[in-house]
């Protein structure tokens, strides 16, 4: 049997696209590597974050906004079908600044983004304004940027709900499989895994860091590299935070997560005290009371980064029907991947708004 669509990569990007296509009635297979994969989707911080996404690339800012707007529909559909509450809360997001210089830089960035890609209600809060909104801030907080449409969701529940509903919709989930080769012809692809053969009219490469090697098999370029992020999780605490913060969020269950470290560490997923210490210091400068909280877990995971940090979406010119999809914001962009990108892929054509995400942008010589 030939599928309408095979997605290679069962993480958040691949699962969202597979689910979106299955929901439109397509016959879909989702091929997933297994526990040997790096699985950015399982280390995610869980922001649905808009305010600082897409400086220098308005198409990305707009795409992120689209996703934020589609998220409630995604969350409600998944909850209705699977009973899994993915914990979406879009209550507004704060990025705290610990010096006047940081606040000036933040204001300049948001001003530039406002001019480039329009107003989304983001504003700079001074020392007094931010304290009127958030109790318990430390003296070092000089202000913050606030965006009313920022939010968060639970990445693991999201992944679980997407997989569960995909199966309900008749999709095939094929785990524990490493793709050996892809036989490509326009609008016809055979994925080879050991002795298995799976044939499809459309193919999406959404295999995270594994995409780099898979993409050339169908005439695509996905030059992604790992960027390590570490996360600290505290014991569960009484809710004290009404907003999502850029480097800190309190889950529905009460755990406080701290994150947003960025390190070029190759494929090393180990944690390290110096980085964890820096994260803890910064977040306890924002909320000094967190010094009392016990840390119960830390982990590291690898973000999937393109050369400029923006997503790659494109259809293969050599083998139409094959598509590339990768980004480092699998949670934020899940709404758009499921409800905007998947329908476009099924229709066989990526509209104008996707042009800016083509990997050809990396071929331009740097001045």
């Amino acid at each position: 049997m030939a599928y309408d669509l095979i997605v290679i990569g069962g993480g958040l990007v691949g699962a969202a696209i597979a689910w979106g296509a299955a929901k439109q009635g397509a016959s879909v297979a989702l091929i997933d590597q297994g526990d040997i994969a790096f699985r950015a989707a399982r280390g995610n911080f869980g922001l649905v974050w808009v305010q600082s996404k897409g400086a220098g690339m308005p198409a990305y800012a707009h795409w992120t906004r689209t996703s934020s707007e589609l998220w409630p529909d995604l969350a409600a559909t998944l909850a209705g079908a699977t009973g899994v509450d993915v914990g979406l809360r879009q209550r507004g997001g704060l990025a705290f600044c610990l010096s006047d210089q940081e606040l000036e830089d933040r204001a300049a960035l948001l001003h530039r983004m406002h001019n480039e890609s329009g107003d989304i209600g983001t504003r700079i809060l001074d020392r007094a304004e931010v304290r009127a909104m958030v109790p318990g801030l430390g003296d070092r907080v000089v202000g913050a940027s606030f965006c009313p449409i920022d939010g968060e969701a639970h990445p693991l529940y999201l992944l679980r709900a997407l997989h569960a509903h995909l199966l309900q919709l008749g999709g095939d989930y094929l785990p524990g499989r490493t793709v050996d080769a892809i036989d490509a012809a326009p609008h016809s692809f055979t994925v080879r895994i050991g002795a298995e053969r799976h044939t499809t009219a459309k193919l999406v490469i959404a295999a995270g860091l594994g995409s780099r090697d898979l993409a050339p098999m169908v005439g695509l370029a996905m030059p992604v590299t790992p960027l390590r992020g570490q996360i600290i999780v505290t014991e569960r605490l009484r809710p004290f935070l009404d907003y999502t913060c850029h480097t800190l969020r309190q889950t529905v269950e009460g755990s406080v997560m701290m994150g947003d470290s960025q390190e070029d560490a190759g494929f090393d997923t180990s944690v390290g005290v110096p980085v964890l210490q820096t994260m803890a210091e910064r977040n306890t400068a924002v909320f000094p009371a967190l010094k009392e909280a016990s840390i119960v877990r830390v982990w590291a995971a690898l973000r999937v980064m393109s050369p400029d940090g923006f997503p790659i979406y494109e259809q293969s010119e050599a083998f139409p029907g094959a598509f590339a999809a990768t980004c480092h914001s699998g949670v934020t962009l899940a709404g758009a991947h499921a409800l905007a990108l998947a329908p476009a892929i099924l229709a066989g054509d990526l509209p104008e708004r996707f042009t800016a995400f083509n990997s050809r942008r990396f071929d331009v010589p740097q001045a």
């Binding site: 109790p135 318990g136 014991e235 569960r236 605490l237 009484r238 809710p239 004290f240 009460g254 909320f287 009371a289 967190l290 009392e292 909280a293 016990s294």
Partner: protein, 96 residues
């Protein structure tokens, strides 16, 4: 409900909810309170239901309790010390 197999040993005194409790040196807080027939070491942050120690080996977190003003302490992993002030934990621990 619980009876000590060996009631000998040095006595240690601490307080639970302001009441004077006699324990044996080496008791964990959970063991000492079970021997004393305490009920409800905590109230669940989700439902408010009373909870008691369960696994007694540090994995189930049913025995979370406030010790000397600090919440979320594991009663089954904390050895009783003289003068320790132990209180029932009501709901989630707050730090703010």
């Amino acid at each position: 409900m619980f009876r000590r197999l060996d009631a000998t040993g040095t006595t240690v005194r601490f307080s639970f909810e302001g009441r004077d409790i006699e324990a044996r040196e080496g008791d964990t807080v959970a063991a000492a309170l079970l021997a004393w027939d305490a009920t409800a070491l905590r109230l669940s942050p989700v439902s408010g239901a009373p909870r008691m120690p369960y696994c007694m080996m540090g994995v189930c977190f049913e025995c979370l309790i406030e010790i000397d003003g600090i919440g979320n302490r594991q009663a089954c992993l904390t050895t009783v010390a003289p003068g320790m002030r132990v209180r029932r934990q009501r709901g989630a621990r707050g730090v703010l």
